[in-house]
Subunit: 549 residues, 2 copies
């Protein structure tokens, strides 16, 4: 993936963006559904950007890997949240990084941190830049404490270094994106099988640093469950844990690295637990008359020991928008296994769904390895040629961030937020978030919609994911969204949720995170940071307050 | 369980110890099998103990919960490793705690820490005292830094405080032993289902503090996988995490608590994820001609996605001693589920075993819920009245620590050690540990045996557990064992293992642990400790060097 293909202001690849003509065609529909006037505008052009002059100059030995080009500096100023895209779209870059460094090896990474430490330069680790929480944002209140800011982009550290077939594990460099690492694992018949929505535009290091949530709806949901060992370059040197399948030797070093969001060091590589490629799959999409009965089914499935791979409950709004629903909630269910047929599992799951009021008449789509009896098997009620709701949903899922950019160009609000909460409090959280969103959207935006789906389910709780679409106006989108976001974040906090299940904290979630995490833990984490990053140069403002000595 | 029933020097309950007559009867067999003279001696008596006078006196407000009785102080001087039992047996208590405190509530726990902090008294958190790594040991090189030592026994904090049926979770006080908490959960139809070998004599708080390994051979093997939130009383106050089914908000606070072994605070309670009681079970014991083919089967099972509950490979020595084996290795396999039949799972597992050279002719013993078709089903080749090898093994498992005490009274060496290693290095580790043990046992003890079993298997590795039986002499057991232990620990370290998979680090494993964990992580952990325990009073000598300000 060459950097040139990436959009410098929007999601993903520039040529995958929704074409202008298509956005124009969307406009009347958006206008009608949100009940507001919309007008498409063009994004700022690179040529129009007037970035602040770089405040620092890389030493000769590093100048070759440090870029001060406008596209690099603008493209590394933000992540890819709605706030980021709006600012990029408008060409607002008051605090670009002074340089974008792309180390080609660990030695250069070490030299970069040495330079930053000695010169009082903030160092922001950058994977593939798809943070949606201000995790890679350059500048802010902390900026004046530093003489400059360098974004350290790990794009060149993208290799699978070693594969251990016997232990089914691989040593992978942190800058490898999902496709890059899967491409290198495929010839070995192995897969990491971690598929966050950002799969194409996020990296192993970013996943570990943010405790990314991946493919699995149950069981091992977060990337850290697949981490065997980590190597992190801190300003004081490398911190590398031993490869172990399990250990009880003190607190896990890897669990301090996981979720550290770049404030303790730059993850350079990790040994990851891999899997055989799945040969058996089964999917089903089960309509439920009410969201509540779908919730009950999801809970029973989560507590059933069936461990479905996918268990995404879409509320009626999500189902209508993404899976061809017509007023009902839809549970998108999936099972997969490399070795064992999953027919019995999905049948047991369908029984649970039926028992909870789901309509299982469409049956399941089951496939096995080529040549097996179950290959291509579908139930009678299911036409093999019709797009399966589970597949409609998947394609909409990957397309969603591009559509968000289109909504930005129409002057609307389109954003998501997510949480997790124990089952006993889910109803209250859902009601309170829904009510709060409705209130604030009506007050601030004059309307809008909130929809909900489940991304992950646990025996003891659930991770609901919310999507907001709302009318706004060019120039007012950020202020409006900030107000709505603050209100729903408060509702999440008050009803027992976490400010993030898998998007991370970054700079955007600090307010609620600071109330959610134990104060003494923040102090302990701060002490750990002072030890590993004594000059306080790493990703200032993330997780804890920046403290320069 | 009253404290009076516990043996003050040996394992478990005093009246469950192997009776003297039985030990006498064992003597000739032990003598023959180890090739040495053995002579049974009597343990020291409580009346014979001359303990150092307490160096401190509890303030009036705490005197009611602080005991200075000989039995309490002797009984809290050590854990229950071979080293501990030998010293207790001999009546060697040079460094007893000056007092044993038993707080009845959290307020008293806070007061105790305040007292220790203000008076420079070391505070050693004590669950049920079955540490086998010097985790609760009073005294040592660090002793002179303190004015005294208090063992803080959480025996009275043993309640299940709240049960959340909907989320299938419970708030449980840290001092509850396995039976205590299961007794309170049973009326709710729920179970934690965490069964370390020490189940009866260890507590929830101890499990979390040491990252205990439990019932499950695969998947969620360690107690921290079942932790929803923790509350830990530090000298600076309580540190409590939010109840969440999953979260990506920074590094997990619970994962700093898990494995902290009492150096950061005293865990007072935790919300734990529970399960429905299993209704479906299946077990099988599969002989393998060679240990190597059993290893291959275990690895394939671990990588099969079948997730057996039990997958204990016993080498020929273990199989002969514990499961009626006659020269073959035996794989003890188990599946269980609350909701779904496990027949298909164990049949798939048996196929894998057969394919790897296992003798599956005995079939599986499968049971379902009462009234179900599969209740009590056994294969034809299996007599329902004969003790099943899987059950022989379980009963031997629970009896083992008592037998170790009997071996101590005969002047022999009987101890276990354990590790985990990735599959690619297992053969080398096993060979090197076996060779090293044979060499050092021959040199130091003039003989002895080493056997191996697997306690847990992972897709990427295995946790082997070793048992040593060796000739020795009263008075020389410790020096001999220390030399053997040092040699095998070095072999584990050199071949890529962890110094502990689930026994913890304590004081005994510090030497290798200090080389195994990243230096910078130890510094970060030390900084966290200085933050939470500024006076450095908590469990000095464990995990990191004691540092009094």
């Amino acid at each position: 993936m060459s950097a040139a293909q990436r959009s410098w202001w929007g999601w993903g690849l520039a040529d995958h963006a929704v074409p202008a003509a298509e956005v124009e065609a969307m406009a009347p529909l958006v206008s009608q559904s949100l009940g507001c006037e919309v007008q498409r505008r063009e994004p700022a052009t690179l040529a129009s950007l007037q970035l602040r002059e770089p405040r620092i100059a890389a030493p000769h030995s590093l100048s070759e890997i440090c870029s001060v080009e406008v596209e690099d500096r603008a493209g590394h100023s933000y992540g890819k949240s709605f706030r980021d895209v709006v600012r990029g779209f408008r060409g607002e870059f008051p605090n670009p990084p002074d340089a974008v460094a792309r180390p080609r090896n660990e030695a250069e990474l070490v030299s970069l941190l040495d330079w930053c430490g000695s010169e009082g330069i903030a160092a922001i680790p950058y994977g593939a830049g798809s943070s949606v929480v201000g995790g890679v944002e350059s500048g802010g209140e902390w900026d004046e404490q530093f003489n400059g800011v360098v974004s350290i982009d790990l794009v060149h550290l993208d290799r699978v270094v070693e594969v251990d077939h016997e232990s089914r594990a691989a040593l992978i460099q942190a800058g490898a994106t999902g496709p890059r690492l899967e491409d290198q694992l495929r010839p070995h018949g192995l897969t990491l099988r971690h598929y966050p929505q950002s799969f194409e535009f996020s990296t192993l290091g970013g996943w570990i640093a943010t405790r990314s949530g991946g493919h699995y709806a149950t069981g091992r949901t977060h990337i850290e469950d697949f981490v065997e060992s980590t190597r992190m370059i801190t300003p004081r040197g490398p911190m590398e844990s031993r490869r172990l399948p399990g250990s009880g030797a003190g607190p896990s070093p890897d669990r301090l690295v996981a979720g550290s969001e770049g404030i303790l060091g730059v993850i350079s590589e990790a040994w990851m637990r891999l899997q055989d490629r799945p040969a058996h799959k089964a999917t089903a999409a089960i309509p439920f008359d009410s969201f509540a009965s779908g919730v009950a089914a999801a809970r029973r499935l989560a507590q059933s020991s069936l461990w479905p791979t996918n268990c995404r409950l879409l509320d009626p709004g999500e189902a209508a928008a993404n899976a061809g629903g017509a007023g009902e909630a839809i549970l998108v269910l999936g099972f997969e296994s490399a070795h064992e047929p999953v027919d019995a599992d999905i049948r047991a799951a369908l029984e649970i769904c039926a028992d909870s009021g789901g309509d299982v008449s469409a049956g399941a789509r089951i496939s096995g390895p080529p040549g097996s009896g179950s290959a291509g098997e579908t139930s009678d009620a299911q036409s093999a040629s019709a797009p399966h709701p589970a597949e409609s949903w998947r394609s909409a899922f990957l397309r969603a961030p591009y559509l968000r950019d289109a909504m930005v160009s129409l002057g609307c609000i389109a954003e998501t937020f997510e949480t997790a909460v124990t089952w006993d409090r889910f109803d209250e959280l859902h009601q309170e978030v829904t009510r709060t969103a409705a209130d604030s959207l009506a007050r601030v935006c004059g309307g809008g919609t909130l929809t909900c789906r489940f991304t992950h389910v646990y025996p003891d709780g659930v991770a609901p994911y919310f999507t907001v679409l709302a009318p706004s106006r060019h120039g007012e989108q950020l202020a409006m969204w900030d107000e709505v976001k603050a209100a729903v974040s408060e509702a999440i906090f008050e009803t027992g949720g976490t400010i993030t299940h898998h998007h991370a904290v970054g700079r955007d979630h600090r307010g609620v995170y600071d109330r959610q995490r134990p104060d003494l833990f923040a102090e302990a984490l701060g002490a750990a940071k002072s030890t590993l990053d004594p000059d306080g140069i790493l990703n200032p403002g993330v997780l804890i307050d920046p403290r320069r000595p």
